[in-house]
Amino acid sequence: MVAKVFSEPLVHFTIIGIALFLLYQGVSPGARMDRVVVVSEETVALVSQRYAAVWMRPPTGGELKGLIDNHIREEILYRDGVEIGLDLNDRIIRQRVLQKLEVLSEESGGLNPPTDAELNDYLRDNASRYANSPILDYQQVMLDPVRHGASIEADLIDVLTKLNAGVDPTTVGDSSLLPASATGVRLDRLVRDFGVDFATAALTLPVGSWQGPVPSGFGWHIVRIDRKTAESAARLEDVRAAVELDWEKERRLQARESYYQKLLKDYDVRIETSPSEADLDQVQE
């Protein structure tokens, strides 16, 4: 009778099923790891490292014991928290996960340092950002229209004529502490001293003669460019650090974006309010 029972396929299945179930309980991560806390060598090393990063020295024996005790306490309490679902619907945890994923997604673009070819491409595509500023040697004379009133035009022409005839620049124009001359001046310095209008105009002037009038916030200027070095493309060796930083930043942003776009393709997004068409257009960003 018993032998007949044990030869039933249903009984076989039941016994195998129970055995599998017990086996699974035995080896599944949830079952075994629920009640076992393993403090591995790696964990101990990590905990010490974290301590040293803050305190600038490794922990003493007593401190290390305390750190490990803390770790165990945290681990046990954490598992308990997860078991009762405390990690669900928590904004702070959600934000933290998003933060970590952001870093992960940024690095999905690769972690290798850029090659020279990649940097040169980037430099070429963004040349204006790194270009060497134009450099000027200049002289200038200022006339304040407020001081000259109605005769400002005539006075400007007069000064221009005199200067081109070789008169000493310090004897004409209105006195001020604006630089009467300077050499090796970069564009940003010129903008700082005289304003954008003056700097833009100065760049267009021919070299070697007095020209004007050129406007600035101070008034009108007669200007002589004695030397001009045009804006030049930067060489990689001069701006490498800046280009590397910017290249890296762009790679991260692109990696983050393509990571998200790839994920988005697998999702079916439904919005249950009834937005206007204009609102809908912005959803996919």
Binding site: L20, L23, Y24, V27, S28, P29, R32, M33, V38, S40, E42, T43, L46, R50, A53, V54, W55, R91, I92, Q99, K100, V103, L104, E107, D144, V146, R147, T170, D174, S175, S176, L177, L178, A180, R192, D193, F194, G195, V196, S216, G217, F218, G219, L245
Partner: protein, 627 residues
Amino acid sequence: MKTLHIIMVVVVAAVVTACSDSDIENAVTPRTPEADTAATLVAAENAVPENPLKDAYFGETHVHTALSFDALIGMIGDGIRTPDDAYRLAKGETLKMGGQEHSIGRPLDFTAVTDHAEYIGESYSTITPGAPGHDSPDLISLRAADTPEKQLVWYTNFSAKQRAAGGKKNLHFYAGAATLRSGWQMVLDAAANHYDPGTFTTFAGFEWSTVVKGGNLHRNVIFRDMTVPLQPYSAIDSSDETELWAWMAEQEANGSTLFAIPHNSNAGKGLMFPATYPDGTPIDADYAAMRNRYERSIEIMQVKGNSEVHRQFWPNDEFADFENADSMQNYSERTPMKNNFVRWGLIEGLAQKAKLGTNPFQLGIIGATDNHNGAPADVVESNFIGSHGPVDSTPELRQSGEIPPWLLAKDENPGAIAGVWATKNTRGAIYDAMYERETFATSGPRMKIRLYAGADLSPNPTDATKLVTDGYAKGVPMGGNLGSLGNAPTLTVYAEKDSIGANLDRIQIIKGWVDSDGEHQERIINVVWSGDRTQGTDGQLAAVGSTVDVQNATYDNSIGVSVLMGSWTDDEFDPARHALYYARVLEIPTPRWSTYDAVRNNLPLLNDVSATIQERAWTSPIWYSAD
């Protein structure tokens, strides 16, 4: 086989989940900047060319970042701005802040980040994952306070606790001196990383933030170089300024070079220029000597108002109504009093000098902001986004809100800027210029002003370069000292507008002295001005007029002038009496920040604040000594 598969899958799964959280936050290796060796730095500084006639450099000496706990609270949810970010903003970079891309405009020449020393450790704990105290429940809830309402609750709680403890204790989640030192290290690292001799100078610094009976007696401490202590000195160490100076003396013995800048005397409750020590004994020659040695300038204006003068006590100064910040008196009973103000303090210094032999209030003039957004010198009136995080971050809040516990937001201003006449833009040259008091402050725009005094200076200068060369050769510049003279000194003055700013109205000289009855006396002289106005016999000069269109928040430069130059000889000179002279230059009227806010946002103009202002600059005094 299937079971084997199951086991294999299960084992692999177990291994994977048993890995510690892979510390993704540590996976990003921070870039370590190349450390400048001391020798490279000195070489770079020496390579910068000098201008013996000096150039004007503009900078910030008072700004707060996330390492100041009160600023930190306001940054939650908007982005933590560290000293590193502050220096980036100072160099003209654009950062996302207050919900928009923001830049201060033109880059600065120098900046000192000066976080409150008291709670640097607490701030460090808050912002640094893994730091001791980082996971304390209070800080977890602080980091979650991402709306202005929650932050206000947090901030009110924080400042109430601070006041209750008399500002003398660390906050209860303070995790020890190591966090203070680590936070201070962040300050130092940022200063080291951004120093670029000849282009941009950084200074290590901090703010000693003592509050005595509600009176503001804070000082900003600036170091000449990176020989600095392991941690700054805070009001928790002591709230007595004589002990701050004693600590500064100890630092000097350890190789540091440092000085302090007091500020906000307008909120000083009469304690900024005292007649007594904190314990009530009258000040003596020692006090005067120490204060003269360690406090070389005073911050004459910042976001919390202008401390030069107040219209209530200077009815004869037609320009004394500038940024008086009246609502400050409604907080902590800070009733305005005449002896809060810088002009009073400077003249009082002469009285004390006569008594004690040394002038305890021989203060140069400097300007700063006290910006709590981590944005140095964010002073452009037409681009003001507030100074204290969320409480003044919108036009509506700036009209109707307050900056607790200081003043109503409509009474604040974007702040002032420091001007320094130095031979070059390096730490040593700029620090030395500040220490020698060859500095000026402006209320925001970058006008430049020169002042010299001497018995041998030629009056009515017409050549600006000669004015400067003569001034240095035959007289003393602003901040300088004139020894006993037989003849009256002549003062020569030059001012130049901001290259992108408003024209100038006039230059004035203010003379101060103490008369034989011991009373403060002063005289305001209009020295040179724009246009063809004539001065009355009483010295009065008509106003320059105004081109401001308040409805559109615009102005034009059809009045005023771009350069002014002139002189004044002291026709009432008394060689036997100490005196001081300082210059003040005013621009033509321009719209106030509150007018730009109203016009751009369709809000009504406020009727209890000015719609227009005349921006200005003040020089350090030149002191005449009768000895």
